[in-house]
């Protein structure tokens, strides 16, 4: 539900809505009795709460500024890799190595700073960023062992936001998104891949990394 006190203007609207609601309740109480007033309060209150819940904000599309940075034909390819805990997974590393052997490419690995909702809202991101940094450094070291020189960044906790942030400075030609297998992936449950394909006009490859299976095989 939308917070009615998000801005002064919304709080002012809320004053008017509450004035009308309680005006109707008072009128019902004066003309009828307290039970009628309670009924009016419940009916109107529920209607207003439902209205606020259903009210969706129009999606504001950001301009596709990353198009300006995209590499011209003949230039080195740019690959953006977005991964969470799977950033050090073998399957993802294999995919990156395969792509860089096909053609010379600059690789940027973005590791979103995954955080709990409470910590996210309280802006307590230090631990999440430190963990993401550690995962990222392990992954970059593993890629370097395979002969792939990649850069890395810790990104926003929201993977779509992290991609958008990265694309503003790194004009990628394609995106590789790595997730856990279906059923265990929070990103797949939130349809991150589908939303990314909707939002970014770039080829997107989805790599599934089963860390449990990789550990069992190791």
């Amino acid at each position: 539900m939308k917070n009615p006190f998000r801005t002064e203007a919304e709080a002012f609207q809320f004053v008017i809505v509450m004035g009308l609601l309680f005006g109707a309740v008072a009128l019902a109480g004066v003309l009828g009795d307290r039970w009628v007033a309670l009924g009016v309060f419940l009916a109107l209150g529920l209607g207003i709460a439902l209205g606020m819940y259903m009210k969706t904000e129009p999606k504001v599309r950001e301009p596709a500024v990353w198009d300006r940075h995209r590499a011209a034909p003949g230039e080195r390819k740019k690959i953006l890799v977005v991964a969470n805990e799977t950033v050090a997974g073998r399957a993802l590393r294999g995919e990156i190595v395969h792509r860089t052997k096909e053609a010379d490419a600059d690789v940027l690995v973005v590791c979103p700073a995954l955080n709990s909702p409470l910590r996210y809202w309280a802006s307590d991101e230090d631990g999440a960023r430190a963990n993401a940094q550690e995962r990222l450094e392990r992954s970059l070291a593993a890629l370097a062992e395979e002969g792939v020189e990649a850069r890395g960044e810790v990104g926003d906790a929201d993977p779509l936001q992290a991609m958008e942030d990265a694309l503003r400075t790194f004009g990628a030609d394609e995106i590789i998104i790595s997730t856990h297998p279906p059923g265990r992936s929070n990103w797949l449950e939130k349809e991150v891949i589908a939303h990314a394909r909707e939002r970014f006009d770039l080829p997107i490859t989805h790599v599934v990394v089963d860390l449990e299976q990789e550990r069992a095989e190791a």
């Binding site: 809320f14 509450m18 004035g19 307290r34 990104g155 926003d156």
Partner: protein, 207 residues
């Protein structure tokens, strides 16, 4: 918001300045502060309403307010109109600064402050003429508890408005969102106080 992997993982600084704090890219810390504050206020008022309804519904069970107490419903209605009007003037003040109209901002804040002060003075006058005290039964305790708690919030709101007014008179604030946050936040608080009074008036005075 991203940070380069080669940055100092310990957040160290090399230019003599403290490192920038990591924070969510969506919610301004000051705005988050007022959200938490209002959430705590909702809980505070909730506890007072619980006590009020407990005394009224569970303990008393008869006619409310109990004989021989009577409440000045129409005087409180006048106060309600005054306070709701102050929300309009507050909104006008903020809309004025968004359009870079400084005199509108100052006038809106003066009007809001004046209306809020009038509300408090009328409430103080009402208290002196009610004819009962907080110690007179659970009705007196809960009535003074709820309306007094709200009055204290109006008093705090008036202080915030006065602070904003002094700054506005000194030429502070501007049309950019980050330049009038000092008016926006007291405005949010003031509207919250208004909403709480609408609930208090309806439940305590009318029903």
């Amino acid at each position: 918001m991203t940070s380069a992997a080669h940055a100092d993982p310990h957040g160290g600084h090399h230019d003599g300045h403290p490192p920038a704090a990591n924070r969510s890219s969506r919610v301004d810390a000051r705005l988050l502060g007022i959200y938490f504050f209002i959430a705590s206020e909702v809980m505070l008022f909730g506890s007072f309403f619980t006590a009020y309804f407990f005394a009224r519904v569970v303990v008393h069970k008869g006619h409310w307010p109990p004989e021989p107490f009577e409440l000045p419903v129409y005087l409180a209605l006048l106060n309600t109109i005054i306070l709701v009007t102050s929300s309009f003037s507050m909104h006008w003040a903020l809309q004025s600064i968004k359009r870079n109209n400084r005199s509108g901002l100052v006038a809106g804040l003066v009007l809001t402050f004046g209306l809020g002060l009038t509300f408090l003075l009328i409430q103080a006058t009402e208290y002196t003429r009610l004819g009962f005290a907080p110690s007179d039964t659970a009705f007196g305790s809960t009535f003074y508890g709820l309306t007094g708690l709200h009055g204290a919030h109006v008093f705090i709101g008036l202080n915030l408005l006065l602070y904003a007014l002094v700054r506005a008179a000194r030429g502070h604030y501007g049309p950019a969102p980050h330049d009038h946050l000092g008016v926006e936040l007291p405005g949010i608080y003031w509207h919250f106080v208004d909403v709480m009074w609408i609930v208090v008036y309806t439940t305590v005075y009318v029903l």
